[in-house]
């Protein structure tokens, strides 16, 4: 399923600075992210990688005493949108920009209901829309074959690797354009981690992925570009 990657910019970050409790965490970041690419974010702990991810889906707003300046444009539905413009709904943003966390966090409900949850939040209640979307998402996350006969089981009974794929499926069900992954394989064993890596490479087909990673081997295996963070600023890499 390879075709020449279309080099179109999906995300444009201009002069982004972020401070928490008056301490600067990110300084004057300028960067673009292209469609159908995987960009790895690397750097020492505390350099701002995970924080940077949260500036792209507005999750930084849940941190008290946090301040953000600068502009983030994301191409959604054809046109660039200033995601921090007045009136741009942050809920809507998070449906187009999905996030996967370091430790899998399935909700205490069945596998099916976990995946269907974002649809429910978005107001979708038609069974004939929900069921196919759930199956499609599980397929894209390489999980369908393993769970198709037990969709009603509690999600917490899955293994670590399966739970992480569940979270990826859940993030994919609304068909976002961007997927943010914060050290997605850190809490998994090597084999489970490899499966996730393969999955990510397949996903870049229709998505722009940003992955924070501490594993240089992993970065070499999957990344098209590397963004190195150091003390809140970036140094470009190839």
């Amino acid at each position: 399923m390879s075709h020449s990657p279309v080099e179109t910019t999906r995300i444009r970050v201009t002069d982004l600075s972020f401070s928490y409790r008056k301490r600067a965490v990110l300084r004057n970041i300028h960067v673009d992210f292209a469609d159908s690419t995987i960009t790895a974010l690397v750097g020492p702990s505390g350099a701002g990688k995970s924080t940077f991810l949260t500036t792209l889906n507005g999750l930084w707003q849940t941190i008290p005493e946090a301040r953000l300046t600068g502009q983030v444009l994301i191409r959604l539905e054809g046109a660039f949108q200033d995601i921090y413009a007045d009136g741009f709904s942050v809920s809507r943003l998070r449906r187009r920009v999905g996030m996967v966390f370091q430790t899998p966090n399935p909700l205490p409900m069945s596998i099916f209901r976990n995946i269907a949850f974002p649809l429910k939040l978005a107001g979708e209640s038609r069974r004939d829309v929900i069921e196919p979307s759930v199956e499609a998402a599980l397929r894209r996350a390489y999980l369908w074959e393993e769970v198709k006969d037990r969709l009603g089981d509690n999600a917490l009974t899955l293994s670590g690797g399966q739970q992480q794929r569940l979270c990826i499926a859940r993030a994919l069900v609304l068909e976002p354009q961007v997927l943010l992954l914060d050290e997605p394989t850190s809490s998994l064993d090597e084999t489970a981690g490899r499966v996730i890596e393969e999955l990510m490479v397949c996903l870049k087909d229709r998505l722009t992925l940003l992955v924070v990673s501490h594993y240089l081997e992993q970065v070499k295996r999957i990344a098209d570009r590397v963004m190195a963070f150091s003390n809140g600023s970036i140094e470009r890499g190839g």
């Binding site: 809920s91 430790t103 974002p118 993030a171």
Partner: protein, 295 residues
């Protein structure tokens, strides 16, 4: 073998004596109530000379039994909880999820004060409210079941607020973010994830409130509880209650038999309140187990 300094010896003596004294006091209280009250536990205690079935179906009045008082306490508790829980829950949610730093401190200060106000003062407020309503709204209103319930609701409101707030604030950070990252609004997050997760804490608060309403005497003393009113008939009428009965009997008993009914009532009230308390233990244990091992 090191020899212990005398300071350490004193501490050990102190701790053990303290524990023994308290245990002794508890045994004395429980023992006394059970000893004196157990013998009185029969149908006559509850229903007097009226047939139980007639009493339960409210066909006949009960004159010398605890049944009206028990029913009165029940109505009181139900009404107070209905009034206090929605208000307390909403306030707790506001404090945990919406209030900013300064607002939170100010509100918390007020609710700590409310929690500290002596119950007799809350009762006095209830009484004053009744008088106020009597003068300015309707001559029908006076100290009654409704006023007592309002006052009791006010009494237990801080419990509900506090346990709701603590339960919500105690949720781990990643739980809070999960639904938000999927596009949930704040309210959706509260409704679908945060509240269900906090349920055990909130339930504990509600049950503690129930216990508090069942045992309170000071508030109802001033707002409508009387010694003989029969089964509660209307919201605007006087009523009987178990703790009031115990208080009343302790000073107004005419003969030893009446005093014994006091012991019986004390035993019943004790069982009810301790039972409710035990339920909160079970809830706390059950729900933490569930959260980890739900299959």
């Amino acid at each position: 073998m090191t020899t212990m300094k005398s300071a350490d010896r004193i501490i050990i003596l102190f701790s053990w004596s303290g524990a023994l004294v308290l245990t002794g006091a508890l045994s004395a209280i429980l023992g006394y109530v059970i000893f004196k009250g157990a013998g009185t536990l029969d149908l006559k205690l509850f229903f007097g000379d009226t047939a139980p079935l007639d009493a339960l179906t409210l066909k006949r009045q009960v004159f010398d039994g605890l049944f009206p008082a028990i029913l009165g306490t029940l109505c009181l508790v139900v009404l107070s909880v209905i009034l206090a829980v929605p208000l307390g829950l909403a306030t707790g949610i506001y404090l945990a999820e919406y209030a900013g730093g300064f607002a939170k401190k100010v509100f918390n200060l007020f609710f700590d004060i409310l929690a500290g106000v002596p119950s007799i003062v809350v009762g006095l407020f209830g009484f004053a409210l009744a008088v106020f309503l009597h003068r300015h709204v309707s001559r029908e209103i006076g100290p009654c079941l409704l006023v007592s319930s309002l006052a009791l609701a006010l009494l237990v409101l801080p419990y509900i607020i506090r346990t709701t707030q603590t339960a919500l604030e105690g949720l781990p950070a990643d739980i809070r973010l999960t639904a938000l990252a999927l596009g949930a609004t704040r309210l959706q997050n509260i409704r679908h994830v945060l509240l269900p997760r906090s349920l055990s804490g909130i339930m504990t608060g509600v049950i503690l409130a129930v216990g508090r309403c069942a045992e309170d005497t000071a508030v109802i003393l001033l707002t409508g509880a009387v010694a003989a009113a029969g089964v509660p008939r209307s919201l605007l009428g006087h009523y009987e209650a178990l703790p009031f009965y115990i208080y009343y009997i302790s000073s107004q008993y005419a003969n030893p038999e009446q005093l014994l009914t006091g012991y019986g009532a004390a035993l019943v009230l004790l069982v009810i309140c301790l039972g409710l308390f035990a339920v909160t233990f079970v809830i706390k244990r059950r729900l933490s187990y569930n959260a980890l091992y739900r299959a």
